[in-house]
Symmetry: C2
């Protein structure tokens, strides 16, 4: 059972008039509680051809490796989210370049966005959500221990583009295996 | 006053342990109700150098012109959202090309994403949310009556890129005036 955040009455899931999808509707106050996908924003912090990866100290995927990334917050831009997450998870200061990948993950209602970025110095340190942080070249990427498919895909594109000499923008979808 | 959607107890806004921002927290069941930006996804449907615009039949900005766009829904990809909104608002069938603009609008907690697209035929018709739909060339764009700043910015980039012969990808922020 779920309740209305405005008036605490029980809500029911049904298609509102004029709509085509079921929503959580409050019959007491009339509020329709829409649910929408969330943006996960991160960065590809580069230093001389190597990228900064974090090993997760939290679930999901405790102990696996990821790029610094997290849920975008209200009151910030996507770029600010990438800077904030990189500072929080890797203790690293970066300069953002341009968006590099945009990946829809509909089965978890998320869209992941990663920016190319330049690491400003080597004074990084794992934050509370990371066990360790490491600068890795392509041969050192722990491919079998990458936390999320969007991160693996983004890393593959980045190393391939680096080899080709031209960085593209990669828009894709990830569907259930 | 706001209430917990899980247990109907009143929630309070405060910084949870280990966090840095105030959240709506339920002390009865422990749930933290995060709030995150929403993605608005749309298309730039082209036909021989002209773009398809819709005049809004709903608030906000009733009577003003926009590109077909709307809130991305759960269970769909960003591309599916662009196709769906174009069909709903303009009755138009399109083929999506690539993402063209990604604009953060932090003061309304939104990120707007527009795709380049090719109109498949001229059988378009205004949906319930549009008063009319029109294919316009640059000189016909009602610049003073554009509904949203992200749409005006995206249109300006598109016509400029078309003239230059190269379509880019435009990542920007819009801040309060």
């Amino acid at each position: 059972m779920k309740f209305c955040s405005n008036c605490a009455a029980p809500v029911v899931k049904r298609v509102p008039p004029g709509d085509s999808l079921p929503r959580w509707v409050c019959d007491a106050c009339g509020e329709i509680h829409y649910q929408n996908p969330k943006l996960v924003v991160g960065a590809l912090p580069e230093w001389e051809g190597r990228l900064l990866l974090c090993r997760r100290a939290i679930e999901p995927r405790y102990g696996y490796w990821t790029l610094p990334a997290g849920f975008m917050e209200n009151d910030e831009t996507a770029g600010q989210a990438a800077l904030r997450e990189t500072l929080e998870e890797a203790g690293a200061r970066i300069e953002l370049l341009v968006p590099f990948s945009l990946i829809s993950v509909p089965y978890v209602n998320q869209v992941h966005l990663f920016y190319r970025a330049r690491l400003l110095d080597l004074e990084f340190n794992p934050g509370e959500e990371s066990l360790e942080v490491a600068l890795v070249e392509e041969a050192q990427v722990p491919w079998k221990d990458i936390a999320f498919r969007t991160v693996g895909l983004t890393l593959k594109h980045w190393f391939a583009d680096r080899k080709s000499g031209t960085y593209g923008f990669h828009a894709e979808d990830i569907l259930p295996r």
